[in-house]
């Protein structure tokens, strides 16, 4: 059907933008920018769910789209602003383990790897939506983990974590649209609790050591300082 292939082309475009936002999270130098890319990424996840669920109408996917529009772009930033002192939002540079070009190159390698890793599943799924969503979802999962390891700042690490969950759901909307709505709801709830707990912890760290550079926390190891 023409309408359907049109939707799938849109979905492919959405997938590309979703991946681009994930790269943006690796590339950006500011906490605020990282947050904006995360919000955009969540919106593209919602868009993809909407495109896959509108024709034929799958209420589960439309609900996923609605949950994602409300939860991550609105509730998560609100919760972060409530729990974490304002100053870290205005902070400029994020300290990184790798410089940004090197991190981007590695990220590219990860994305290409994810594509080849998922080839057998794409063949198994056999739909064109799966061809877009499975590799991009896995790439986002791995890139989220990568962001976690190269960033030394608390908020970007948290956002990397949430990007991983976005990646998992980006895949699942294409391969498992029958997933119980309850699962979506509890994961959304779980994301909020995770943000709250990590926010409280970050505030405690900021109070104790005066910075949110969690990479600077490296006292616990076997070689005793004594």
């Amino acid at each position: 059907m023409a309408g359907e292939s049109f939707l799938y082309q849109f979905n492919a475009l959405t997938g590309g933008l979703f991946l681009l936002c994930t790269f943006g999270m690796v590339a950006t130098r500011q906490v605020q920018g990282c947050m904006r890319f995360f919000i955009l990424q969540s919106l593209f996840l919602a868009a993809s769910a909407f495109l896959l669920g509108i024709h034929p109408v799958l209420w589960g996917l439309l609900a996923v789209a609605a949950i994602n529009v409300v939860n991550k772009p609105i509730l998560v930033p609100w919760l972060l602003r409530r729990t974490i002192p304002e100053e870290i939002h205005t902070r400029r540079e994020i300290s990184q383990v790798l410089n940004i070009p090197a991190a981007l190159l590695l990220a590219l390698a990860i994305a290409v790897g994810a594509y080849f890793l998922t080839l057998p599943w794409v063949n198994l799924a056999g739909t064109s939506a799966a061809g877009v969503n499975i590799p991009i979802g896995l790439a986002a999962l791995l890139l989220g983990a990568f962001t976690l390891t190269v960033r030394r700042e608390a908020v970007p690490q948290l956002l990397g974590l949430l990007a991983m969950e976005n990646g998992a759901f980006f895949t699942s909307i294409a391969i498992a649209p029958e997933l119980h709505l309850l699962v979506e709801l509890i994961v959304a709830f779980d994301v909020l609790i995770a943000v709250f707990v990590i926010g409280v912890l970050t505030r405690a760290i900021h109070k104790q050591i005066g910075t949110t550079q969690v990479g600077a926390l490296a006292a616990l190891r076997e070689e005793s300082s004594r």
């Binding site: 599943w121 997933l179 006292a219 076997e222």
Partner: protein
Amino acid sequence: MTVFAIVLLPLLAAVLCWIPAVGKRAAAPVTFVSSAGLLALTIHVTARVVVLGKVVALANWVEVDSFGALILLLVSSVGVLACIYSLGYMPKMTHDSSILHHYYGNFNLFIFSMVLVPVVVSPSIEWLAVEFTTLLSVLLVGFESNSEALEAAWKYAVLTLTGAAIALFGFLLLFWAMQKGGGGSYTWAGLAAVAAKMPPVVLKTAFLMILVGFGAKVGLVPLHTWLPDAHSQAPTPICALLSGVETTAVLYVILRLMPIVRPALGGAIERWALIFGLLSVGVAAFLLIQVHDYKRLFAYSTVEHMGIILTAAGFGGAAAHYGAMYQILAHAATKSFCFFAAGAVLLLTGERDIASIRGLMQRSRVAGSALLVGALAIAGAPPFVVFLGEFLILRAGLSEGRYVAVGLLAVFLVVAFFGILLHVNRMVFSRVAGEARVLTEPEPPTGEEIEGEERLGSPPWISVSLTPVERPTGTASAHLAEALEAMPSPTASQVVRAEGHSSGPGASEAHPASLEASSASSSPSSVRTRTDGLSAPPVVADPKFPSGFAGGLPWPCVLTLLLAAIPVVVFGVYVPHPLYELLSRAAAVIGG
């Protein structure tokens, strides 16, 4: 109905603790009542599971089978003990007692998350429950709010939540595999029904992702790095829960998956379990040797034991699965006891460093012997419960024909045995450094003793002070440790023989006098009367330690140690029939 009560009771207690008017006054009693009630309810449910095989509270959502009942029983037992321990421990160790009701509130939430894991049967809710065990314990790990505790909490949160996100991907793939295999309800039973029809290419990745993702939470190498930090920096009652039952509760999910993926993937599952298991045991056994902090010592031992249980699951066969279940029980009982003992030492000394603690037995009989018994038990010395578990596992591995894996496991177990006892032996028996320096002129001690000590690598002044006379050999366990030092390379069975030997004629001559010496350790003259030409150093009373039986430990801590010691000792020699039933049925669950 009872199952719902089990889940809701800790939640209710948490709410009560968080209400300031109630929490500020009665957080501790509320927590105690809730934990005790939880244990009673759990015993009730477990008894019904033993009789009926399964308790269904809400079909396809909340059900308890034998394996779940085992985990539930362990969580609530260790929960009660940790609660009693908290009553004595927390007021002494917290700098700000006005926020103690936050501790109890979080404590109840943490218990809630852990009882949720074994009662839900839908893998997606299971994922949420495991995620909750992290989220609701992060603030407990960082409760002491110093930079070390916060660092540990941060590492714990980030690494285990990353693992959970990977596992989430695995669970979504698993759901997809089930749809491809014919669908049905997304529960353990529904998955098992279509197990053989699921596409292996998806199933393999799903299982690996869950193994790696939740493996991070269990503490499997190479994602174990957060575990020694979190399990050493948290308040001690929380360490007992984290190490004793939280790791096990997550391992429960991995083990539950094994019968589901086995029909489609065959022996590959066993191979992965063996590789991850042995890697964890091996790495942890060697890391054990070089720790500086005794709580980290027990934390690494948790990594080791998780590896042992996974290895046992990897051996395959009903006997090995029974061994795995027995080891789960043994580890939960023993590791929580070890942490209670370690917490007693921390209460008495305020030191985490192994090197700064010497001669514990002289200061407090309770703390010293608890630490020693804990170390022997967790290292796998008979007649304690872990020995029986490890023995069952090794024997089952041999009968399955996995000789290389059994050999490696045995070597790692021996390395870990020495690693643990090397540190604990010094803490319990050697003299405090300050006392040894009183010596003006070191005199040569008897040959055997100095050899024994030098082999253990102590500095010379310690071996000088360690003449047989001054050593507090008043207890049987002291003989055991003495025998350990004197043996060239004791294995577990040799230790027992040595124990029997040293309490024979050779020791009977030294026994009464050394008892006297230890009971009157503050009077040097009574010690000197026993020396054969050796002058004993004068013993200086250290004001930091009030010496004596309990050494100033709060009574709830002593009570916890006594209660926690019961299963460690009893289940090593006698397994009651209902427990045997429960364990063997739980083994059948992971056998498929």
